[in-house]
Amino acid sequence: MPEQLLTVLKLCLLALLYLFFLRVLRAVWAEVGPLRAATGQVPRSAGAPAAAEPPAAGRRGRSARAGRSRSSRRQPSVPTRLVTVEPASRAGAEAALGPELTIGRAAGCSMVFDERFVSQVHCRVFVRDGAVFVEDLGSTNGTWVNGARVVGQMPARLGDRIQVGNVVLEVR
């Protein structure tokens, strides 16, 4: 067997190896790339270790900031209402902000969400001296403002996103 032929075959083998890796990378890209283009979301791989973080803090925080700049352009600067963003089936449902607005699963709440991650009386949102505050009422899954967990009474500004279980509300 001529040595040159063996060398050529060897180089072909190496080329095939790297072709394999190229195909693998393309397969990864096929899953990561279009997903981002389709949903307009930051890919999940961004951000700090998942286990240490409150759920989707990075993503929600980022999209909330984007939402704030958008809404502040076309809306007056005083927050007046809470609008449901997620889940999609309830999107658009809204309530006026006032001295007391309760959110939960129980029928007596101002906004009722019959979702499995929402507690009976989950949290309250109230206006004091023109500022909006959120307070968790001992819910099982917690309340989050822009991905930060609500402890005590936390202020919320125009465009902020309040997450109640799997329900996301925007202050407008």
Binding site: F20, F21, R23, V24, L25, A52, P55, A56, E86, N166
Partner: protein
């Protein structure tokens, strides 16, 4: 502990069926390509050695197809939505390893083929038996006990065997195996299960040292225990590689669970202390370090392996001398610890880089699976299992290239070794299960515990 909502529950659920079909099609395509590469390498190695095509090339092709198809169909049947890349990469590594083992030693090649068959069977069995990784979490303490028992098994007087200076073998009649290879999976399950319920306590900084907030020192107990076990492995079994692996596994899982770098810092300090003390106390550790620092002090004796590996890599150059054309029997243990040096000799820098890239992609896929599992037991387990494979590959390749002192662990899927092969196939099956489950999983409050 409070349950938190997995982020996936708020977004519309993806079409599970379509994802599964697409992933399995990708997997099949990649498997065909990797089989072609392995077949080509096998033929080329024989051409280089005997200037003729191997006589058994058709049976070889048949065996590859049967094994690959069995694994692929099992994934299609029992883990349809799982990651598409793990199996092809593993098939490539295992196949390339086999080609080089067959080129070095026909008898070992037959054994390795048998072990690959057993490995695939174990892979399928794992997919069938473990339908839900959370079941493993329920038995975390059992797995912890089993892991420690497996680690200690070689120390038993009757079964334990001292082979090549390390007491890590167990013999039951004609079958001998390394229980440590299975212990690592059991311990990964235990660490993940233990830490997922403790991560909040371990992650809270309540203690001040000067300007730093650190977790309560009482919580450092588990780190110390893991460190102690690793040290015991070093002392009694003389198995430095495995000890390092267990310690890294624990540290990585702890770090991901708590998100606190203080544990990593503490771990490295403890590691430094442990390494220094064992260096001063134990001759087998001293030997390894002096060979690492200056193998030419005893070129015909203790430094022989490492020097020959360096020659082999140098002789290989950029693209290698060609499969089947290297010098056989140059390095002792070339089919286990030093297989990467053989690949380096015959396929050169490009070949060894390909092995590295394969492990990199394997680790990347594993971490992507962990990321997708949504802050659960599955995340920690996937991180643990991935780091086992990645660190083991790193430890042995770094040893061969003299980046680290040489410690005898196998190169996962590539080296000859039944226990290693079978346990790594089980490990990959678990990763596929986690990945499958994170796609399928309905929003479930318990899943986030």
């Amino acid at each position: 502990m409070t349950a938190t909502v997995p982020p996936s529950s708020a977004t519309p659920r993806p079409n599970v069926q379509a994802i599964g079909t697409r992933r399995r099609t990708t997997e099949l395509g990649l498997l065909v390509l990797s089989s072609i590469i392995v077949l080509g390498a096998y033929a080329l190695a024989s051409l280089g050695r005997n200037a003729s095509l191997p006589a058994d090339i058709l049976p070889f092709l048949g065996v590859i197809l049967v094994l690959v198809l069995a694994a692929h169909l099992a994934v299609r049947r029992w883990a349809r939505c799982s990651d598409a890349l793990l199996l092809p990469i593993v098939a490539l590594l295992n196949g390339l390893g086999f080609v080089f083992i067959a080129r070095l030693d026909d008898q070992l090649a037959g054994l390795q083929a048998t072990w690959t068959g057993v490995g695939i069977a174990a892979f399928i069995l794992t997919l069938v038996v473990v339908r839900d990784v959370r079941v493993l979490q329920r038995y975390r303490y059992t797995f912890g006990l089993v892991g420690v028992a497996l680690l200690l098994l070689p120390l038993l007087p009757v079964f334990g065997q001292n082979i090549n200076g390390a007491r890590i073998w167990v013999a039951f009649g004609p079958v001998s195996f390394q229980p440590g290879e299975f212990a690592k999976i059991a311990l990964a399950i235990f660490f993940a299960g233990y830490l997922v319920e403790r991560r909040e306590i371990l992650g809270v900084a309540t203690f001040r040292v000067g300007p730093f907030n650190t977790p309560d020192p009482r919580q450092f107990g588990p780190v110390l225990v893991a460190w102690g076990i690793s040290l015991l492995v070093v002392i009694f079994q003389r198995d430095l590689g495995s000890a390092l692996l267990f310690f890294l596994l624990f540290l990585v899982t702890l770090w991901v669970a708590t998100g606190r770098a203080v544990y990593v810092v503490l771990g490295f300090v403890l590691f430094g202390v442990g390494a220094f003390v064992s260096w001063t106390q134990f001759s087998h550790v001293q030997d390894r370090v002096s060979i690492w620092l200056d193998p030419w002090a005893d070129p015909a004796g203790s430094g022989y392996q490492v020097i020959q590996a360096a020659y082999a890599l140098a002789w290989g150059g950029t693209s290698g001398v060609g499969p089947g054309l290297g010098i056989v029997d140059r390095i002792p243990f070339d089919e286990t610890d030093f297989i990467v040096a053989i690949i380096g000799e015959e396929l050169g820098l490009l070949g060894t880089t390909a092995v590295l890239v394969a492990f990199l992609l394997l680790a990347g896929s594993g971490l992507r699976i962990a990321k997708g599992a949504g802050a659960t037991f599955g995340t920690l387990l996937a991180v643990g299992l991935t780091s086992l494979v990645a660190f083991q590959a790193f430890i042995i390749m770094a040893g061969v290239t003299r980046l680290l002192p040489l410690t005898g662990v196998t190169l996962p899927f590539v080296s000859y070794g039944g226990s290693s092969l079978v346990s790594n196939y089980v490990l990959v099956a678990l990763l596929l299960r986690i990945s499958d489950q994170s796609i399928r999983r309905a929003p479930d409050p318990l899943a986030a515990l």
